[in-house]
Every structure is written in C-alpha cells, then in structure tokens.
C-alpha cells in the first residue's frame, strides 16, 4: 500500500477559509483595484478623506486578517474548526456621523441553528448600534451648535465596529464585538459571545466556575483591584467590596466576560463602567 499517497488525502483536506480566496482575488487584481479606488475617492468629500483612508486600511486588514484555526490539522476528522470571519465591511457617513463596520459571522460549527441564532444576534446588535449612532450623532452635533460651535468646527460622531476572537477550539468559541465611539469624548462598548460548540448554547459563568461563581469572582476581583491600586495610587474604582456581590447578582445586567488563551474566564468592564474613563477597559482574569 502506498502510505504516503494516503497521507496526501489529509493534505488535500487542508481547506483555506473564504477570506483567503477573497484575498487572492484582490491581490491578483491589485492593479485594477487601485484604479477603482481613485474613482471612489472622488465621491468622498474632502473633510472625510482621512476616514476614507482609514477605510482603505480596514480593507487591507480584511485581506490578511480574519481567519482563525488553531488546529487545522484536525480538519479531516471533525470538519473545519469553527471560525469567526468577516462577513462584510461597510461604511456609512453623513454630516453628523461616520460609521465603519466590520461585521463578523460564525460558520463551520456543524450546528446550523447555532449559526443562525448567533449571526442574527450579531446582525441585530450591529443594526441597533448603527441606528443609535445616527440619533446620537445628531444630538451631539446639535449640542455642539447650541454651545456656539460653527458648521466648520463640527466633529462628527465617529463609530468603528470591529471584532476580535479571544479563544477558539473545537469545543468553545469566544469573541467580542467592539463598538468604539468617539466625538468629543471616546468610548468603547464591548459585546461578548461565548459559545459551547458541543451544545450550541451560550457558556455561563456557572458552567465554567461552578455554583459558587459569585463568591469566586468577587474575591478575585477584589484582590486584583487592591493590587492595581497599590501599583497605581491614582487609580480608583467605583466598585467596592460592598457593591461587587451586588453587581454580580444583578440579573438585569449580567457581567460581561470572555475566555482568554489560557482558557480562563476574564470579566471585562467597559471603559468608564467601574472606574474613571481614562483607566480604559478593566479586565479581571478569574483563576479558579
């Protein structure tokens, strides 16, 4: 038997993600693309040239970035590892807002219901961010005008939606959608997705940390807060030992978390959520 020929089957099963084929097409037609882009720029008003340039960067990133397969050699046995990939990127702009979206989507989980559910959630989430942004963009501009700003000085409401895979293997998938908003001030809102690929359900803190998860988390967060304040005496948190458990038990507003590369739970607070905004996103790794 020709054993090496047998192994060729495994080799041939290495399948590139769709984004790869997209990249190849773009790279091959790079010359034509350049020409088209120049045409495109003509439509962009001068004030927005810098964002248009940023959009070009996004496109280039898309060419090289999105896939993610830590264990592609498993492909022949269990099918492709679940992937988060860029479903589409688009840009919306007006005098009051400027929105760039890099929308993720999941596939190859072997569970179509799950994919439909998550991808619908993502779509809804992004739609609502975009809708909201349009309204707030208008409000922010009205404020600027009311406080004596002139048309030329106006800062449009700028939004960039992107995503990042935090952890992925054949059993679990964890990723975040970042909603970066800025006009006069900048904010970053995160939406996490943690999926158990075997059951198709969302992973809960109790799944990973057991029934005592509230105690465990509040203890770990307190320790880390104390540590951080020691290291940075000027830092302060609105979360105190008294309010941590309270915040944890608030079912209306569940804690946001993701799974990091070490497969640990990381509780993540948005900028300004539990500390002054300049301290940025506050992450707490929970080692059981």
């Amino acid at each position: 038997m020709n054993k090496l020929k047998q192994t060729q089957k495994i080799y041939k099963n290495i399948t590139p993600p769709q984004s790869y084929n997209l990249m190849v097409e773009r790279a091959v037609s790079a010359v034509e693309q350049k020409r088209k882009k120049t045409d495109h720029y003509k439509w962009v008003r001068p004030a927005l040239v810098s964002t248009a340039a940023m959009f070009a960067i996004c496109v280039i990133m898309l060419n090289t970035m999105p896939t993610f397969a830590s264990a592609v050699y498993e492909i022949p046995i269990i099918g492709e590892v679940a992937r988060v990939f860029t479903f589409r990127t688009y840009e919306l702009s007006d005098t009051t807002y400027d929105i760039q979206v890099e929308m993720p989507s999941i596939r190859n989980t072997g569970n179509t219901d799950l994919e439909v559910r998550i991808n619908d959630q993502i779509q809804d989430k992004i739609d609502s961010i975009v809708e909201n942004a349009k309204i707030r963009g208008k409000a922010v501009l009205d404020d600027q005008l009311a406080s004596g700003g002139t048309e030329e000085e106006l800062v449009p409401f700028y939004i960039m939606i992107s995503y990042e895979v935090k952890f992925s293997n054949e059993n679990m998938l964890s990723f975040v959608i970042n909603d970066m908003e800025s006009s006069v001030t900048a904010y970053n809102y995160q939406t996490f997705y943690n999926i158990d690929l075997n059951t198709g359900k969302d992973i809960t803190l109790a799944d990973k940390l057991g029934d005592q998860y509230i105690e465990i988390i509040s203890e770990r967060i307190q320790e880390q807060i104390e540590q951080r304040i020691l290291e940075h005496p000027d830092w302060s948190y609105t979360l105190t030992s008294a309010t941590i458990s309270e915040a944890l038990s608030d079912t209306e507003k569940p804690l946001k978390f993701y799974i990091n590369e070490a497969e640990n739970i990381v509780i993540s607070f948005d900028k300004g959520e539990i500390a002054p905004p300049p301290m940025g996103i506050q992450d707490f790794e929970i080692i059981k």
Partner: protein
C-alpha cells in the same frame, strides 16, 4: 510591453485557478491559517512585480511554487519556527489502525526539516516530477534525489515500517 501583459495574464489565471494549492503549500510551513494567507499574499505581490523574470510561460507553475516556498522559508526564518510542533493529532485516538498510521505519517512529514519536507510535499502531495522539483528548489536533480531518499529513510524510521511508498 505586449509580452509582459501576456505573461501577467498567464500568471493571474494560473494563480486564480490553483490558489488552494498555494494555501496548502504555505500552510505546511506556517501551520497557521493567517500566516499561510500572508505568505501567499506576499508571494502574489512579488510574482506580479517580477513577472518579467518569468522566461517561459510554460514554467509558470514551477516558477510560482518557488516564490511561495521561498516566502514560506522566509516566514520560518523570521519567526524561528523550525521546531514548531502542533501535536494536536498525537493525542487523538482512532478506531481504525490504518487511519491512525496515516496521521502519524502525515505528522512525521510535517516535522521534517524544511528542505526535506519540501521535496516530499512537492513529490507526493503536489504530484510534481523530480525534474520540476529541481526547478522549484533551484537545485540539481541529484540533490533532489538524495533529499528525497533521506526524507523517506527518516519517515521509515519514524513510523517503524519500510512500507511507506
């Protein structure tokens, strides 16, 4: 510049048609999807830029394979990943003994040193002739043969069987 245009068209058509081959080839070095895509992208850019050095359109395949492999090796050099091990399959168990053996052999191939791996991949996975491999690797036929035999010997030792071809 008519001739260059025709070369460029040949190259583009070839790349589009065989793109998944390049991904696999790059992947066997990078063992990472993103990096494989980067390697191929770099190779495409270089190839388009240097298409005038392609002397005969009939050799577009070996010419482009060579660029992909050089880019892959560059990647390994930059990232110092010669001894990178995936080890994913080693822990897996299979009911079927033949399947298990096939995976062991496949893993063994992917752990050969890059020069030997290149010869095995091109010969057995990409079905190139030895003379074509010589062109791709820019070496003479005897070198290719000796690398091939050395690689086969190593593989036989790894899986403990003579019966691999």
């Amino acid at each position: 510049m008519r001739k260059k245009d025709s070369k460029l068209d040949t190259l583009k058509a070839y790349i589009l048609g065989d793109q998944n081959h390049f991904y696999r080839l790059a992947y066997s070095y990078t063992k990472n999807s993103d990096d494989a895509a980067d390697v191929v992208q770099e190779a495409i850019c270089k190839a388009i830029e240097k298409v005038h050095t392609l002397q005969n359109e009939a050799y577009v395949k070996t010419w482009f394979y060579r660029i992909v492999i050089n880019e892959s090796l560059n990647y390994l050099r930059k990232n110092n990943k010669y001894s990178h091990k995936e080890g994913v399959l080693e822990n897996a168990s299979y009911e079927d003994k033949d399947v298990a053996e096939t995976f062991t052999l496949f893993n063994a191939v992917s752990e050969l040193e890059p020069k030997l791996r290149t010869v095995i991949i091109l010969r057995y996975y990409e079905d190139l002739k030895l003379s074509e491999i010589a062109k791709v690797t820019d070496s003479n036929l005897n070198t290719v043969k000796s690398r091939l035999y050395k690689a086969l010997d190593l593989l036989k030792i790894t899986i403990g069987s003579d019966d691999i071809e």
